[in-house]
Amino acid sequence: MPTQSDLLAVAPELVLIAGAGVLLILDAFLPKLRRIASELTLLTAVGAAWALLALPHQGLVWSGMMRADTLFVLVSLCLLVALFLCAWMAGPYLHRAGKETGEFYALLIFATAGAMIMAGSIDLLPLFLGLELLSIALYVLNAFFKDIDVSLEAGLKYFIVGAFAAAFTAYGIALLYGATATTNIEAMGRILAAGATVTPILIVGFAMVAGGMAFKLALFPFHGWAPDVYQGSPTPVTAFLSVVPKAAALIVLLRFATSFDLLHMGHSWIWAAGIVAVGSQTLGNIVAIVQRDIKRMLAYSGIAHMGYAMIGVIVAGTAGSTAVLIYIAAYTVMNIGAFSVIALMSENEAEPHLISDLAGQGWSRPLTSLALAICMFSLAGVPPFAGFAAKFFVFRSAVDQGLIWLAVLGVINSLISAFYYLRVVYTLYMRPLPRRVPDFLSSRAIGAVAGVSAALVVLIGLYPTWLLSAAHAAARFLVR
């Protein structure tokens, strides 16, 4: 029987699921109210955030399977911001495509709830439930424009790859249970710390769970699905998909890295994870250079960014965990900001989103273009924007642990990435408007999403102190 504190701890998720339920009922019985589905979603996100911040949270809940602490609050807040911004931009986007339905928003909300459960779990069983809730909602969302081939393709690809990843994860969980007789990550950590021998079953089990997370993060060599899925999914879904599952999966990896104290478990982890991190950065950045479609470019950029974030996971400890949390927050706002401007670009995913279509827009649509330019500079890691702060803390944590080679390879990679982010900026401002100006949507709501995201990017970049304090306080719950 769940106690009161158990229920309080999952109150934000309960608010989300209630909101999603209302949306589904409205969709079925009061189709006229579909117009306000987007607004209802925003309200649900705000309600969940209120539940998150206002209700008391204390430590272990659900018989020690979940942890409601500062870490959970901070990550959930990022996830809810992502939900809020994506739902906000989805309104005008779906309206243009004539696909306004409540179920779209309900699925977005379910996915967010799944990610929050993943981030809050220290036991692999609820973690797996969260993962599935998140993934299944996303499979449907990817293929939401079911009469468009690329959207269907995106849904199918993500489904097949996701099913593999889920199977990997489930099998890994079984092996870990076999090796340690528990499904609790922190309990496994305690067993290892007490001097249990590291058996091959344990290593294989951990590798399979980590591999499942790497699929979600689109890390090299599990990145193959990303470009097609990014390109084919409706843009608000792409924005959501590019941050929410990644934030949750990063937290899972961080929990393993800190509980198992992987950094001090020998060199094989550093080497394996280091190759994955640097490989993701290098592959992502180099392949992104030749992309002409901006959504595909951002897919490769996302692969690279998770590579940088992995450096923080490798370092772990307080400094590394803090850096990863800052990275999640910065990446959320800068990526969603970029995708919100892309959502204005074309009617649906049947058309390509060519970077060259942005030519000259910098002067004819100054505000949204400025937001996009700020997000691009931020993704490139140029101060004074959020992306710089994120990279600064990640590289700092690596230098402090003596992993200078990771930092050096990381900065060289962010240099390579400047090539393709700059291409977007110079297309906006330095190329003339074409004779036939592409028919871009004008939407105040999407403009507001871009503006809010860009403002947060600048705020985090100029004054990261508050985020650093919050991330530091959260990271202390990981490392004891």
Partner: protein, 500 residues
């Protein structure tokens, strides 16, 4: 206004001005120009207050702002201060900004507001980089220069502007990202020594001195961190062989952009060598002196030779910068008091002379839309005032006694001669080549037989253009006739700096 806020006003004033410009509607271009000019003149007036309040007898940083915590968890704070060296460079910057705005009065006709906003943001970044007493703050200002300059080259530049802008951005970033790792390592080392996180210049100075030298380059933390900083600055200067971005950036940038690029941005490279490499890592500096001397001398000679054969006046002036900044690096590497003072003065001189040269070449380009030397010839008769101004600036650039260039070059060579006679002799040849390529260009443009009918109706300089170049010429003569005015405020600073 409290005196401790003066540096903050000087640094952030232009950025605030840029925000004021956003309020002016886009159509009112005349008002935007006048507003920008007014802001830049106020900024210059503020910076003269620095001169008035500056005490030349004090060696360290003066007029320091209060230390405001920025990222206290890491000991990063907002902290500015000025010494004799940065004083001269800040004054040079604030002097050049109104000149740039006047020079761009007609040549910048599109997106006028955005141009002036970029320029003012750039000013804040440059002044901040000169004044920062926190190394993290310095890095932020240093990187902040990238975005406005990228736009100035890429939006208002010539036909190959995008290529030049991207090249400028990437080259500069190559150096600065490794400098970031160097800064992080230094901060980590400082923490390991003192158990306190800090990015303050004074704390990292102590840490830099203590960095072990090791036996070989790759086992020497001090040499590696030195190299990380040096690469960033060498690209900015630019030292041979990192100079290849410069001719493209200069050729494609609009006149105003070239003035600010040559006048101030390059100085941040030489300033960085002096303020960071020389002071923070003295042991590594001494190990690297032979290399810096060699590259400086190669730069002097190579820049001059390549300038000699340029058909485009702007490209010629761009390569002359490589040569002139070679002299500055020579003076810094020689490390005597005279040569270092000469180097700092020569930074200012180069800003004035080359700024004026780019301005005057821009004047000609606005009228004829060509900068090719072959398109002119014998125009002295048509534009006598212009010719006089150009000749004066040319003589300043080649170091005629009585003008500014002579003082700087003389001090550098005299100071270098004591320690490195061979380098001084080789560099002196650079002076001769400098005279050759500049005077040969003047001859072909102004004196040779009148060759092109299009030049008959060439208009002489107007009042605006004279007003733009006048402040530069006043200082060119002033420094030449009475250099003590400018040498005395930096003497204490240079002396204490060379103690490290």
């Amino acid at each position: 206004m409290h005196i401790e806020h003066l540096l903050t006003f000087v640094t952030l004033g232009p950025a605030a001005g840029a925000l004021i410009l956003t309020l002016i509607p886009g159509r009112l271009e005349r008002i935007q120009r006048w507003a920008a000019l007014l802001i830049s003149l106020v900024e210059f007036a503020l910076s003269t207050l620095l001169w008035v309040n500056f005490n030349p007898d004090v060696a360290g940083f003066q007029l320091q702002t209060a230390k405001i915590p920025w990222i206290p968890q890491l000991g990063i704070s907002y902290h500015l201060g000025i010494d004799g060296i940065s004083l001269l460079l800040v004054l040079l910057t604030t002097l050049l900004i109104p000149v740039v705005i006047l020079a761009s009065w007609h040549s910048i006709s599109e997106h006028v507001k955005a141009f002036h906003m970029s320029l003012l943001m750039l000013t804040t970044a440059m002044i901040g980089a000169f004044l920062a007493l926190d190394v993290f703050l310095f890095y932020i200002f240093w990187e902040l220069m990238l975005i406005p300059m990228y736009f100035i080259i890429g939006v208002w530049g010539g036909p190959r502007r995008i290529y030049a802008a991207v090249k400028f951005f990437i080259y500069t970033m190559v150096g600065s990202v490794l400098m970031l790792v160097g800064i992080l390592y230094l901060a980590w080392f400082s923490h390991a020594q003192s158990h306190v996180w800090s990015f303050a210049y004074s704390d990292l100075l102590r840490a830099g001195h203590q960095l072990p030298m090791g036996h070989s380059f790759f086992s020497s933390p001090q040499m590696l961190v030195f190299a990380a900083f040096a690469l960033a600055f060498a690209i900015k200067v630019p030292m041979f062989p990192f100079h290849t971005w410069l001719p493209d950036a200069h050729t494609e940038a609009p006149t105003g952009g070239s003035i600010i690029l040559a006048g101030v941005l390059l100085k941040l490279g030489t300033y960085g060598f002096l303020r960071y490499n020389r002071v923070l890592f003295p042991a590594a500096w001494h190990a690297f002196v032979p290399l810096i001397l060699t590259l400086a001398v190669i730069g002097i000679l190579y820049g001059a030779w390549v300038a000699l054969v340029q058909p485009d006046m702007k490209r010629l002036v761009a390569y002359s910068s490589v040569s002139h900044l070679g002299f500055v690096m020579l003076g810094l590497a020689a490390g005597t008091i005279a040569s270092t003072q000469g180097a700092v003065l020569q930074m200012v001189n180069h800003g004035l002379s080359t700024g004026a040269l780019f301005l005057l070449v821009g004047v000609l380009y606005e009228r004829r839309h060509t900068r090719m030397i072959a398109d002119f010839g014998g125009i002295a008769k048509v534009v006598p005032v212009y010719t006089g101004l150009f000749l004066l600036v040319t003589l300043s650039s080649i170091g005629l006694p009585g003008l500014n260039g002579f003082v700087g070059e003389f001090l550098i060579l005299a100071g270098t001669w004591h320690r490195y006679p061979v380098a001084a002799i080789l560099a002196a040849f650079g002076l001769i080549f400098g005279a050759i390529y500049m005077l040969w260009m003047v001859q072909r443009v102004f004196w040779n037989p009148f060759a092109h009918k299009e030049n008959v109706s060439l208009k002489d300089v107007n009042l605006r253009e004279v007003l733009a170049v006048a402040p530069l010429i006043i200082f060119i003569v002033w420094i030449g006739v009475h250099p003590t005015t400018f040498l005395s405020p930096m003497e204490a600073a240079v002396r204490s700096l060379l103690m490290h």
